[in-house]
């Protein structure tokens, strides 16, 4: 720690009074003002930490489902959560492990002879490595699914923004010669109800079987977007 012996970083200031009394390397010559200052500083730190952690707890409790009280409290600290990236619900795999979103993009391409053909891109691409890249692709697909679901259930039925869908389509079509449009599809896998059924009937499943359509939710089109 460079500068440890300077200013407020001196062990004597950091370790505070307890260290002054116990550490043989430090002289013990506190004044009344020192004592008051250090005591006040410690109290202030304890208060700030208590408030911060209480806000973190409020954020964790306010994730859905939550009470009106929890939501109202969390709304007061929305700025704090967003500025520092706090306020997560930490509800991993709850209430039950959710299926994964899979995006399929169908690129409509017109070649030099004017013939139309299609190219399909799957997100995530299972052959992607290293693993963190695959996780990023899973997140990409999940974000698009979340946008789709949010817009589907939005009050007033505003399905028009599609910021992510339009942006993904433009990205996928970019640099593909002759690309006219990109149609995006989304489905989720494995379908929990199909899995439950299989479990109930004592089926012995393999990953290959799980990859079949039986274990997927219906494929839904998010729309056709121009390649511009």
């Amino acid at each position: 720690m460079i500068g440890l012996r300077n200013g407020d970083d001196q062990p004597i200031a950091i370790s505070e009074l307890n260290d002054r009394k116990t550490s043989p390397m430090l002289p013990n010559h506190n004044t009344g003002n020192d004592l008051e200052r250090v005591s006040l500083k410690r109290s202030m730190i304890a208060i700030v930490v208590a408030i911060h952690l209480a806000i973190v707890l409020i954020g964790a409790l306010a994730a859905q489902p939550s009470s009106l009280l929890e939501q109202a409290l969390a709304n007061k600290f929305l700025g704090y959560f967003q500025i520092l990236d706090l306020g997560q619900g930490y509800r991993f795999y709850a209430p039950s492990p959710a299926p994964t979103a899979i995006v399929t993009a169908k690129l409509k391409i017109r070649d030099d002879d004017g013939r139309i053909h299609y190219k399909t891109v799957r997100i995530p691409d299972r052959n992607t490595g290293p693993r963190l890249r695959l996780q990023r692709q899973l997140a990409l697909a999940n974000s698009l699914w979340t946008e789709y679901e949010r817009e589907l259930t939005a009050p007033g039925g505003d399905h028009s923004s599609h910021i992510l869908a339009k942006s993904y389509a433009r990205h996928l079509g970019n640099g593909v010669a002759g690309c006219e449009s990109v149609e995006l599809f989304v489905h989720r896998h494995p379908d929990p109800s199909a899995l439950e059924n299989a479990l109930r009937h004592g089926s012995k499943l393999t990953l290959k079987e799980l990859d079949t359509e039986r274990f997927s939710t219906p494929i839904e089109s998010l729309g056709v977007f121009p390649c511009d």
């Binding site: 720690m1 460079i2 500068g3 440890l4 012996r5 062990p11 950091i14 370790s15 307890n18 260290d19 550490s23 390397m25 410690r42 109290s43 730190i45 304890a46 930490v49 973190v56 994730a63 929305l78 967003q82 500025i83 990236d85 619900g89 930490y90 509800r91 795999y93 709850a94 209430p95 039950s96 492990p97 994964t100 899979i102 963190l132 890249r133 695959l134 996780q135 990023r136 899973l138 997140a139 990409l140 999940n142 974000s143 923004s161 910021i163 992510l164 339009k166 942006s167 993904y168 433009r170 990205h171 970019n174 896998h189 494995p190 929990p192 899995l195 479990l199 012995k204 499943l205 393999t206």
Partner: protein, 314 residues
Amino acid sequence: MRLIFQQAARYPGEFVAQQWSDWRSFITTPVDGTMLGPVRLTLGLLATWNWLVMGLDFSDWFGPFGWLPKAEAIALRRATIPWGWSLWDIVPQSVVAPVYGLGLIVILTWTVGFCCRWSGVITWLLIYSTMRRLPMMLFGFDSILSTFVLYLALTGTGGESLSIDRWLASRNGFKPIQNKFLRSTVAIRLIQIHLCVIYGAAGLSKLRGEPWWSGTASFFLVANSEFRGVSILETLGNHRMITALFTHIPLWTEILYPVLIWPKLWRPLIMILTVGLHLAIGLTLGLWEFGFAMIAANLVFIDGEWLKAVLHSK
């Protein structure tokens, strides 16, 4: 009778005074900060790895025709996270690559523990800004990394051990008898309590789900072939008792963590179960980065003084 009323009347005041005194002492009585060094080193390595992996698809993430170009990212943020901000907003497209390169140098600087006070703050700024620039690529690992780096950055800690700062300080004659500083203590307490919130929320929220009660949740997890981890599907599918065990142990570890991590007798057991939980998630679901970040944060529950005594006793 009057005595009972007197005692009852005094109780709220005594309760508050005692709680305040205990809390103040818990937060500010210096404890050994040695373990913050390994925490910084691990989080730094993960941040570096994350940065490098992002670089493999640099134009997909940061390019003008990337998954989410800057203008769209800003529009999306304004609509969903109005208080959010990102330093990438003010970086012109022409210098995004050099800034990315400088970012890598800063993150590496923090990882090796050089100028931790400043490099930690800039590392967090980079992590946060990138999260807000690319909100569609985030998963649990990002918020965990951001949170724990934030605590080290805010308190200016992480250089207590395994760092160049420490090495330079000792070369200049700084040899503290104890590695106890107020800011290290605050960092440790923040991480410890935040971990309790994370595990507590994760555990309690699972209690709403039928598969966690019926013991089938672990099967649901490994049946997700997209994660491409080591497949134990057939094993779990054929052995319902093992499936139930693999469901109940993580669930109860998470629920009990906020309580049992504090008594010293229970702490080793809870830590072993927690590390096992993250390694199992890494192995089967491939979430290694998330697991290592959580394991790194859990190191703050190891008493640095005890560890040094054990290491020096050899």
